[in-house]
């Protein structure tokens, strides 16, 4: 088992390196203009002491300043490979010190004028908060629903649910969001349409939490609703699979109560695929919430990604991208391991 995990981890690192290299190359192959030069020029022009200098001296000064900035940013070379290694932290900067990701430097946001880590902190917290809530809500609804439809397979209720769930997973998130905003914000006026709390509030403790939940209610409802279709179908399918097993027939033949058969025997077997689904789904939801955050104006990772993309704040985008990649790779590993843990018949280290 340990050997398998190690092997997978090594492999994960390899994939991560390939992907990060690809991403880095894609990024820096885009013509962006000489940012350092512009900044240096701005600095010189805005400084009264320098502005009156003759043109030639001024140019020399600008060039000097540009180079200085490039040394600091590690962009004085056009060799992308060197830049990539610097970004990772394997290659020293001009002053001989490596300042890459390995050293804990994840980049600097040009828009927020802050370290990327600081920029990302608050949105990350919000996204995790929303996602945990949405996952719990969705599970609470879909599992009983899936079991019920599987047990009453072929009944009228099941057939309606089948059609409803197809509709559920065929509808894109933004349509559901717009519809819900129209119903609950515009017509019923139950919830606010956007924001993360009453503007200018100074609530504390429970009241602050309540206010936050009031603002998050609609996004959470939409997220839960969006996942109902796919999840219910999945739970139903695995439950049907489990109900068709020989052991269920045996259990029924023994004369066990139907309730025991379903909840104790069948459900345990159905749980195996569901567990893996939950893990994968929870990780996948991070990038899935891009849409929700954008529509409801929540300060989350997805919204940050869109803002950064529109402003071409490369280092933030690169960091977010690598974050998503890492998450997805970790997700795959966890799914595989969970499969092995949940189902003793599957031997992961084979």
């Amino acid at each position: 088992m340990l050997k398998y995990i190690l092997k997978r981890l090594v492999y994960m690192v390899l994939v991560w390196v390939i992907l990060s290299f690809l991403m880095f190359m894609i990024y820096w192959s885009v013509p962006t203009g000489n940012r350092e030069f512009q900044e240096a020029k701005m600095e010189v022009e805005s400084n009264d002491a320098y502005r009156r200098l003759p043109a030639q001296e001024k140019r020399a000064l600008i060039e000097e300043l540009t180079l200085e900035k490039q040394y600091a940013n590690g962009t004085e070379t056009n060799n992308l490979f060197v830049r990539y290694l610097r970004w990772l932290g394997f290659y020293p900067y001009h002053d001989g010190q490596p300042r890459g990701m390995l050293q804990g430097n994840f980049g600097y946001s040009q828009i927020y004028k802050k370290d990327v880590m600081e920029v990302v902190k608050a949105p990350m917290g919000n996204t995790v908060f929303i996602n945990i809530f949405a996952t719990l809500l969705a599970l609470g609804i879909t599992i009983p629903l899936g079991i019920a439809t599987a047990v009453h397979r072929g009944s009228r209720g099941d057939k309606t649910m089948q059609v409803l769930t197809i509709i559920g997973y065929s509808l894109p998130t933004f349509i559901i969001a717009i519809l819900f905003i129209w119903i609950f914000c515009w017509n019923a006026k139950w919830f606010p349409a956007s924001g993360f709390g009453t503007p200018g509030n100074d609530f504390t403790g429970l009241k602050a939490f309540g206010d936050k939940m009031y603002y998050l209610a609609l996004p959470l409802i939409v997220m839960t609703f969006c996942s109902l279709g796919g999840m219910t179908r999945y739970v139903r399918a695995s439950m049907i699979e489990a109900l068709g097993m020989d052991c269920i027939r045996t259990a029924r033949a023994k004369g066990l109560k139907e309730r025991t058969v379903i909840y104790s025997h069948a459900w345990r077997n159905a749980l195996i695929p569901v567990i893996t689904l939950v893990v994968g789904w929870f990780l996948g939801i991070f990038s899935g919430s891009v849409m929700i955050e954008q529509i409801f104006g929540l300060n989350g990772m997805g919204n940050l990604l869109i803002t950064a993309l529109n402003a071409f704040d490369f280092e933030v985008v690169l960091f977010l991208q690598m974050f998503y990649v890492t998450l997805s790779l970790l997700g795959n590993l966890i799914i595989d391991l969970a499969y092995g843990l949940a189902d003793p018949r599957v031997r992961v280290n084979k």
Partner: protein, 777 residues
């Protein structure tokens, strides 16, 4: 994204189980497959080898004459292409029709030939026998026996039903799936044939007066009570006001103005209903009327100086320096000398009254009409006035001069000799101006020449695609002209309507109609009305309304929906084709060859699968917007991105299926016959996996459409002005738009949702039908 993951997991799980339990169904299908292959192999070998040998020979021939080189190469290419098509077509036919049926058909053909030959032989025999005068009973008996044998064979063959046919039959038994299929086909037809019916559609269409109109078809429906009593019709945007000869006012079209929810029809003041109205004119958001006692009434919007109703309006408007306030003697129910009024004109937030003595009373927003104050203040006398969308024009009292007071007035480009220089005020020497008609960005004047005949002169930016003014011949001339937003109407002296200008809403359909009864024409906004001398409506045409409303640019949501649907479906289809080609090739190779190839390809699949889809596509799209490439190229690249990122699921699925299929006996047989590995992989194994592929393709198609819509919605896919169902929703980002303009998001959502739901239902039904495991339960 989460959904995508679910699908993948689902498929993976299926694969796992299929490896364990699916051996049985494969075996069930096997006899069929063996039949298939045997027919296949025997069929193929001869034409294939022949084709190959000709391939080898061809280059030798080509060396001889190099000129024909390109041609023969192209020929060869098409030959190969045709060959590939034939093979693929063969699979599909075999899947639906069944190999046994084809074999049976071949057999029947051979039988027939044999029979014919036999008949001919019999006839010959008969002839011989007739000649020999022998009895003719024995050959007849033979024939009967023959027929019996044939019938027996036919029934034998028909009892075997191919799996493809079974699938089709089972599919058509599902009512829901068939309904969904019909809807999807209808949607495709609607979206691909629809644009052909709208040759006038352009992505960049703009009509600022038509922005944010709700769905309506009432814009041309002149009230019945008004017909027969029409005194005047006036409109400059989306509602039309009609005045009857009894002094009543009728309003039709979209009567609710914008978000303020002022209903211009319901807010008609009671005083107006009671009074007998002499003059009425409609602006873009207000209406002004003059009663027979000279009282000036106004209703509608008033924030930008359209009119003054009470003291607070005065206080509000005084602070805004761009407003010419309503004259003091007219405001708040003031009176005007009605006998002296010649013309009442309303424009975009402006009102002008021309008096018979040539003076002009003007009030309203000078932000839109910067020269308006000059008409009131300069003291010039006018014979006629009219307004375009941004400027006011007048004809001097001696009917010789067209006045605008602006440097950037519509340049006068007449094709006439006696007209003064191009960018000066127009001065006519030999003729007089009878009337002036202003459209949104151009104008026409009716001129009476010294000979007594009228003719129309024309000016402004008269763009391409607009109909020219019709030639009336020598004896006929226009007696009256009128201008709408983009088109003109004229009445000829013998009572016919003629129309010219923009025909995007069918305004010009009225042209050359009227049966000689027309005396007055009203070209109002996008509608045309022709009225006879006894105040009856003779003809009308033009914009009836927008069944799905209009967007922020005044473009019809319906038209954009149809054209956008074509884009959405095309992107979805191309992306799916790309992803399936990659997925199938990688899946089959990896599954069939196994070992290191499998290992490598599966690692590649995992790398691609690990890329988080939505963020990555967004990033690539954002980067592309920085590159200097055209919009078409960008859209194509979006298709490729979608395709290249979504093939992993299919590749895994195909690999799993191929792994199970390659152990079958007929593959061993094919190997023993010396068929090449690639051919076994793609020709012998792939057709047996094709049912799974079709299911995945269907579901992926819906997936790709949704992803494209999502990307476009976020602004990273296809961007404005090109419409897709996703980016039509892009505009609906805030609550006020979602709430007030529900038609902007509802209709695209419905179309997108119905299409994806139906495609998913079809895919689901296909899976049920084709997956033997679900059949069993």
């Amino acid at each position: 994204m989460a959904k995508k993951k679910d699908e993948n997991l689902n498929l993976e799980e299926q694969k796992l189980e299929q490896e364990v339990s699916d051996v049985q169904p494969v075996q069930e299908e096997q006899p069929q497959a063996v039949l298939d292959e045997q027919a296949n192999v025997t069929e193929e070998i001869s034409p294939e080898t022949v084709a190959e040998s000709s391939d080898v020979q061809a280059p030798v021939l080509n060396d001889a004459n190099k000129q024909a080189d390109g041609k023969t190469k192209a020929k060869q290419f098409f030959k190969k292409l045709g060959h590939v098509c034939k093979i693929v077509g063969g699979w599909i036919v075999r899947m639906i029709w069944g190999a046994s049926k084809i074999a049976a058909n071949d057999f029947i053909k051979a039988e027939k030939k044999f029979e014919e030959a036999q008949k001919a032989a019999e006839e010959e025999k008969a002839l011989e026998e007739q000649q020999a005068l022998a009895d003719a009973e024995t050959p007849q008996e033979d024939g009967k026996k023959n027929k019996k044998r044939k019938k027996a064979k036919l029934t034998d063959v028909e009892e075997i039903v191919s799996p493809g046919k079974q699938y089709v039959k089972a599919f058509f038994e599902k009512k829901l799936a068939v309904t969904a299929l019909v809807i999807v086909i209808a949607m495709f037809l609607f979206v691909f044939i629809g644009p052909l019916c709208m040759p006038t559609y352009t992505d960049l269409y703009k009509a600022s007066s038509q922005a944010y109109l709700p769905p309506t078809v009432s814009m041309l429906s002149l009230p019945k009570e008004l017909d027969g009593h029409i005194k005047s019709i006036s409109s400059s945007s989306f509602f039309t006001v009609g005045l009857s000869d009894t002094g009543n006012i009728y309003i039709w079209g979209v009567t609710k103005i914008g978000t303020t929810k002022i209903d211009i029809e319901k807010s008609i003041p009671q005083a107006v209903k009671d009074a007998k109205i002499e003059y009425v004119a409609a602006g873009t958001d207000h209406i002004v009327a003059i009663g027979d006692d000279g009282t000036v009434y106004a209703w509608g919007h008033k924030e930008l100086g359209q009119y003054i109703e009470n003291e607070t309006d005065i206080a509000n408007q005084e602070t805004n320096h761009n407003i010419i306030m309503m004259p003091e003697d007219l405001r708040m129910g003031g009176k005007i000398d009605v006998a002296n009024v010649k013309k009442l004109v309303c424009g975009n937030q402006i009102t002008a009254i021309l008096m018979k003595d040539g003076t002009v009373r003007v009030w309203g927003n000078t932000n839109t009409y910067r020269n308006a104050s000059k008409f009131a203040n300069k003291g010039d006398k006018f014979y006629d006035i009219d307004v375009t969308r941004t400027s006011m024009y007048g004809v001097t009292y001696d009917q010789k001069l067209l006045v605008n007071y602006e440097a950037n007035a519509i340049k006068l480009k007449y094709k006439m000799n006696d007209v003064a220089s191009a960018d000066q005020d127009l001065v006519l020497t030999n003729s007089t101006i009878l009337s002036l008609a202003c459209a949104n960005s151009n104008l026409a004047i009716l001129v009476q020449e010294a000979s007594g005949k009228n003719r129309v002169l024309f000016s402004g930016d008269f763009g391409e695609g607009l109909t020219d003014i019709p030639a009336l011949g020598l004896t006929r001339y226009f007696t009256q002209i009128s201008a709408g937003a983009e088109h003109y109407l004229g009445v000829s002296n013998d009572g016919y309507v003629y129309a010219w200008g923009d025909n995007i809403h069918g305004q010009l359909k009225i042209s050359e109609k009227g049966d000689g009864k027309v005396s007055t024409v009203y070209a109002e906004a996008y509608q045309s009305y022709a009225v006879s001398s006894d105040n009856k409506l003779v003809e009308k045409s033009g914009l009836k309304g927008y069944i799905f409303g209009t967007d922020a640019n005044g473009a019809s949501v319906f038209k954009r929906l149809v054209n956008g649907g074509r884009m959405t479906l095309t992107i979805g289809a191309v992306a799916v084709i790309i992803s399936s080609i990659i997925g199938i090739i990688i899946g089959v190779i990896s599954g069939y060859f196994g070992g290191k190839v499998d290992m490598f390809l599966m690692r590649v699949t995992e790398v691609v699968g690990a890329i988080p889809f939505l963020p990555f596509a967004m990033i690539l799209s954002a980067i592309m917007s920085k590159l200097p490439i055209g919009e078409d190229m960008r859209i194509f690249i979006i298709m490729v991105i979608l395709g290249v990122l979504s093939w992993t699921g299919l590749a895994r699925l195909v690999r799993g299926q191929v792994l199970a299929t390659r152990e079958c006996e007929y593959i061993t047989a094919a190997k023993a016959m010396g068929v090449s590995e690639l051919r076994i992989a793609f020709k012998h194994i792939l057709p047996n996996v094709i049912s799974v592929i079709i299911v995945t393709l269907t579901l992926d198609f819906a997936g790709c459409m949704l992803t494209e819509s999502g990307l476009s919605y976020l602004g990273f896919g296809v961007t404005f002005p090109r419409p897709t169902w996703g980016n039509m929703l892009n505009a609906t980002r805030n609550l006020t738009i979602i709430g007030n303009y529900w038609w902007l998001w509802l209709f695209p959502s419905i179309f997108l949702a119905i299409t994806t739901i139906c495609i998913n239902i079809i895919g689901d039904a296909l899976r049920d039908v084709m997956d033997p495991r679900t059949n069993k339960r």
